[in-house]
Subunit: 128 residues, 2 copies
DNA sequence: AATTACTTCTACGCCACGTAGAAGTTGCTC
DNA sequence: GAGCAACTTCTACGTGGCGTAGAAGTAATT
């Protein structure tokens, strides 16, 4: 219940970026442009997808519990269930949770964190 | 480059558990028993696999860089490249790394950590 | 009622993974 | 050193997730 496909991730990124709920069409358009805004002159690289494709992906994301849709409005509006930060943190816990040696894992994790982040963590934890 | 299948994970668990390199046959036997050591009387649940199956999985794990094999010895001996803790910590970094808002993620992560673990983290981080 | 906009259903190709037989290779034994 | 036994590699099939989208169904608009 963790990994996302490439397109699924792209859609989630858009949903996480915009604060408001979006329609499939909107997302389709955003996908058509994003990914490579700056472009010499050749073809743009943003995927030019069929709307149904986006809808399929959104359905799958809904099934996975990552996305929520308003069914009332005619063009259904989709939005992420939780923020990217929340979701990522959840993922980290998922990864950590599967380990019987949590402390050891945390030790290794901390060991390879940047100084800045270590500082952030200290602040977040407060001193005992 | 992250997720493992069920069998792949079972094999890694065995390799991580035992400190020494193991052969495909050994692993096959361990897989046949483990998973449900305690058993009323009915059939055991440990997978009874063909050795080739184990070998295939080991090859795939090798390709993924999780396992290393001694090709010299006749029954090749396999072992995990890094400890489970290292691997898990690495995974956590992978998950975290893909986020543009690392600090926010860390905040959420810390927010939902158990008290014990928070304490552990404080110790690990030491004073500034 | 017909047209249009939107959603759901169905589907196909690809790739990872569980699974394992067939074929090839190496080493031991007599 | 010929043959058997053990081991590895090759090939393959079924299943399921994902990218992709057309066909079919449903609702809103005029």
């Amino acid at each position: 219940m963790a990994s996302l496909g490439e397109l699924e991730r792209a859609v989630m990124d858009l949903l996480w970026a915009g604060q408001e709920a979006a329609t499939a069409n909107t997302l389709r358009d955003l996908l058509a442009q994003s990914t490579q805004p700056q472009d010499g002159s050749a073809g743009h690289v943003g995927k030019d997808l069929a709307v149904t494709t986006v809808l399929t992906v959104l359905s799958r994301l809904e099934r996975k519990g990552l996305v929520e849709r308003e069914r009332g409005t005619r063009p259904h509006r989709y939005q992420a269930v939780s923020s990217r930060a929340d979701h990522t943190a959840e993922l980290m816990h998922e990864v950590l949770g599967s380990a019987p040696d949590r402390e050891a894992v945390l030790a290794r994790f901390i060991g390879s964190v940047t100084d800045n982040e270590a500082e952030t963590l200290r602040k977040l934890l407060g001193r005992s």
